[in-house]
Symmetry: none
Subunit: 131 residues, 2 copies
Amino acid sequence: MNLELDFRSGIPIYLQVVDRIREMIADGRLKPGGQLPTVRALAAELRVNFNTVARAYRILDEAGIISTQQGRGTYILENPPPAESESMRRAAFASLTDRYLADALRLGFPPEEILAALRQQMKSKEEGVEK
Amino acid sequence: MNLELDFRSGIPIYLQVVDRIREMIADGRLKPGGQLPTVRALAAELRVNFNTVARAYRILDEAGIISTQQGRGTYILENPPPAESESMRRAAFASLTDRYLADALRLGFPPEEILAALRQQMKSKEEGVEK
DNA sequence: ATTATTATTGTATAATTGTATCATTGTACT
DNA sequence: AGTACAATGATACAATTATACAATAATAAT
């Protein structure tokens, strides 16, 4: 993977890993769809604990740059999130809503009940975030 | 089989498969007595290991919804447990709603807008049914 | 028709991968 | 010194995959 770290720079290892990988994706050394080394493999290469690599991967995951999947590995995402256009966003949302409504109706739930369930679900989610 | 998975959702694949199949049975897209794809066939379609599908099938089997038979295949049972039928319908609806809400929020739409879009969509549908 | 062989199906177990939690270390600031 | 906090490590865990296996069906051989 050829990823150089500076253990004396004072910059946390996990941040260095994040930056190096960002660079490699930006300049094409790593390609969308490709697989990154496993946390353990990269950690061994860097002589570092695998949790440190996992932390770097998690940050890149939350940034929408890679996708980490338990048991499968971590992959570079196809479309680094350069803010998809508004019209695409609305279209995606519309078709999503369309499909949901069709599915719910097919299950035999009446419109009011569907709205009620959605409101309920939103409420649960909010409370869940409160921790 | 037309079964969509989200590898980034954090929800285990085998649970997603369980939910999707529950939905398809609950809303009639899959019929009692019918045969499900073999674990290997479905796994190939989903780009997943067949043990992951087997795990989903086992859960559905233990719930009394399908019957998996070594060397023969897996079949949808004729009489879903009477109590199971209604709860299955509700479970399917719940997971459907959960997934829709998560997807919509990820697209960046606020709760009120989601509800509004759904109401709008219902209205269109009603009018569309009238001749 | 019967039997043997091969292919296809689900099952069991171990290995691999990322995740969660807590302990340890080091550094900055009182 | 002592405290607080961030970074890293150790350990246990859950999801997925890899491999070998057993049961049933399908086919070939006789």
